[in-house]
Assembly symmetry: C2
Homo-oligomer: 175 residues x 2
């Protein structure tokens, strides 16, 4: 995942992967049918980790508290896996059609969780958004964007960033 993130799928050879894990290239084929299968396996595991970590959280009562929980969860989870996040977005184009469809299904499932929170908040009169689908994409893009600038050795902890972004998200969707 680290090599794919740093260099891109096409620029990483099986020889380089093998060298990083301390075997010869041929030995990798005992673990993956081919390079494409390896990329898919990494991306699928990442998406499944995301969905199960999300499912493991206790759902708060109100849509407002649910949105705060989603915001803090999303930032904390993604800041811990910058390589996986980068690869899972950038290398969608490197997947063959069937693998692409499988990853997109998982991604859609995650986005739906946020959209349902927004829909319930709108119905309860707590939120005002132009369109729940667009607001979903806007919030996720804003939150995932943390990965482009956050540095572990910077002045802010992941939890502090969560609070900062929660204030912006809260206001952006406020009634």
């Amino acid at each position: 995942m680290r090599l794919f993130a740093q260099r891109g799928y096409a620029a990483v050879s099986m020889r380089l992967i093998a060298s990083e894990v301390g075997v010869q290239a041929g030995a990798l084929y005992n673990y993956t049918p081919d390079k494409q299968g390896l990329l898919f396996s990494l991306m699928q595991s990442h998406m499944e980790d995301l969905l199960s970590a999300r499912a493991a959280r206790v759902t708060p009562d109100s849509p407002l508290a649910q949105l705060e929980d989603f915001t803090r969860f999303h930032i904390a989870f993604h800041l811990q896996r910058p390589d996986a996040v980068f690869v899972s977005y950038m290398e969608l184009r490197s997947l063959d059609a069937q693998n692409f469809a499988a990853i997109e299904t998982l991604r859609r499932r995650y986005e739906d969780e946020l959209e349902q929170i927004l829909q319930r908040g709108v119905q309860a009169g707590l939120f005002t958004v132009p369109d729940t689908k667009i607001a979903t994409m806007a919030v996720i893009a804003m939150l995932t964007g943390v990965n482009t600038w956050y540095r572990t050795d910077g002045r802010l902890s992941a939890a502090e960033v969560g609070t900062i972004y929660w204030n912006m998200v809260r206001k952006a969707v406020a009634a």
Copy 2:
């Protein structure tokens, strides 16, 4: 730019580029010193187009109107060049150190324009943001995210999307 966006820099061969423009591979070297130079030239032109298009706009008086103008400009400009936007973000890692630094300088210059708007708005008491640098990154990530879902043949025009996002940005930074 289209080929790099669809397949990634490393996955595009000089032979493929040549075939798309109707020449043999060797002929390309009359136009670029090498493949790396071609990537850099494309990305540099994109960033310079962005900065000069931005500079060409008449600056409104108030920070609020400036922020609205920036929001609408950013969305309109980026929706017209999805391939260039994708490549300029994704292929930063494919640039050598010197070219990377040059592109980063141009990118920083663009981000600074938004940050200065936010700073003036905060000083005027119009905006309340946790940190102008973080708010800058959050707004740009949200706006650029439009490119991941917008379809030209969809129900919304680029201008309508601009209005939708302006409402979210306005609320997110509101005092």
